[in-house]
């Protein structure tokens, strides 16, 4: 259990979205554009690392019976901070992410890492874990968002990549497109894992 491995596990092996199947609401809802993935990812990294740090620092003084409410209050505080900061400093992103900013508080990834890891590990480990999970979540969102944006709108990060005249599949931008894309991505990940384990 090294610092580096705690970080990298969140990038693939224990990927929050694709392996742990957590945080799917924002993943599906926000991934209509690749750039939203970066915005949401950044927020989640902030909240995840922040709450992991606080919970890890105070883990010895948080009574077990009330740990869940305490975690929730800590997480909700960080979420509100990011909400206010975004509103004042990056209003465009704030509008794009909308209701899903306060909903970060119920993103199972964050509560999950607090419960499973941060309360049992020291500060540096907790930071590493939070960063890894956060970055993993971000790249997952960007991949999902990119696929949907390219096929649905013909752009990538706002730049036109599908020549004018070629049709785009609008469904990709709708909720249905999100579900189906994620389903296929998960199947693809499963396929990769099957091939890897069969080879070993």
């Amino acid at each position: 259990m090294s610092l580096a491995s705690e970080f990298t596990k969140g990038l693939w092996n224990r990927h929050p979205i694709f392996r742990l199947l957590l945080g799917m609401c924002p993943a599906l809802a926000v991934s209509t554009k690749a750039v939203n993935g970066i915005g949401m990812g950044a927020c989640v990294i902030f909240v995840l690392v922040g709450s992991n740090v606080v919970i890890s620092l105070f883990r010895k003084v948080i009574p077990n019976q009330v740990r869940i409410p305490v975690f929730i209050v800590v997480i909700a505080t960080f979420v509100t901070v990011v909400d206010l900061l975004l509103h004042g400093l990056a209003p465009e992103i704030h509008k794009a992410l909308g209701i899903f900013i306060p909903l970060i508080v119920v993103n199972c990834i964050i509560l999950g890492r607090a419960e499973a890891f941060a309360q049992k590990n020291d500060l540096l480990m907790a930071i590493s874990d939070g960063l890894g999970m956060g970055v993993g979540f971000t790249w997952g969102l960007v991949v999902l968002g990119s696929i949907r944006e390219i096929f649905g709108l013909g752009t990538w990060f706002g730049m036109k990549v599908i020549p004018e005249g070629l049709p785009t599949v609008i469904v990709m931008i709708l909720p249905a497109g999100g579900f189906i894309t994620l389903g296929f991505l998960l199947a693809a990940m499963n396929r990769i894992e099957h091939c890897r384990t069969e080879q070993s």
């Binding site: 209509t32 554009k33 010895k60 003084v61 948080i62 009574p63 077990n64 019976q65 009330v66 409410p69 305490v70 209050v73 800590v74 909700a76 505080t77 509100t80 901070v81 206010l84 900061l85 509103h87 004042g88 400093l89 209003p91 509008k95 909308g98 049992k120 649905g152 709108l153 785009t168 609008i170 931008i173 709708l174």
Partner: protein, 200 residues
């Protein structure tokens, strides 16, 4: 790692401290971000006004007149001689596909539509959000309540709806018509400025 056993009193105190601490942190952040948030909102309105008002606008004045329900606020565009060359008025509808759509209409000296900016919407990207496209907007240039029927062609009006986004198109019609009606009310009310008077 065994957890210390906490007494009920210690638990209660910890919980209270956590909540108070959280509230304090948030109150502080709220304080700090209030100004940036207000500034961001003001900047957004200013930018929008610059877009919808005539390019010769040198300064902008705000007037409001009381009406039955509350008051109507209109922004006057003044050229460098102090003459009124245009107006801006807000209008909104809740009949958009995704809910509320807020418009800022730019009107010329006679009260006909110059253009508009959509301030807020939740329409479907690629479909309903074509309400923001120049193509859809341009059909309203120079139109007012007397020379134009603000209904989609399907409903017997003059508006070319967006393909596959009839609901959004209908909502736009409602909002634009309402904006023009509000402007009429403003003109008729005492304190409302007619296009013939110059700024006092």
């Amino acid at each position: 790692m065994a957890k210390k056993q906490f007494s009920d009193v210690q638990t209660f105190i910890t919980l209270t401290l956590v909540c108070v601490g959280a509230a304090a942190v948030l109150a502080l952040v709220d304080r700090v971000t209030q100004k940036p948030i207000e500034r961001a909102e003001a900047r957004k309105k200013e930018e929008a006004l610059r877009i919808v008002l005539p390019p010769e606008t040198a300064s902008i004045e705000t007037r409001s007149v009381p009406t039955g329900g509350g008051e109507i606020e209109v922004n006057l565009a003044l050229d460098d001689q102090g003459q009124t060359i245009g107006y801006a008025i807000s209008s909104s509808t809740d009949e958009g596909y995704g809910g509320d759509v807020e418009f800022l209409l730019g009107l010329d000296r006679e009260g006909s539509i110059l253009t508009y900016k959509i301030m807020n919407h939740k329409e479907t990207p690629g479909l309903g959000d074509n309400l923001t496209s120049e193509k859809f907007k341009s059909q309203f240039k120079g139109k007012n309540l007397d020379n134009f029927q603000f209904k989609v062609a399907k409903d017997g009006g003059d508006v070319q709806a967006i393909t596959a986004a009839t609901i959004s198109s209908r909502a736009a019609c409602k909002a634009l018509e309402k904006g023009l009606e509000l402007f009429q009310e403003y003109r008729k009310a005492p304190g409302g400025q007619s296009s013939m008077e110059s700024e006092k």
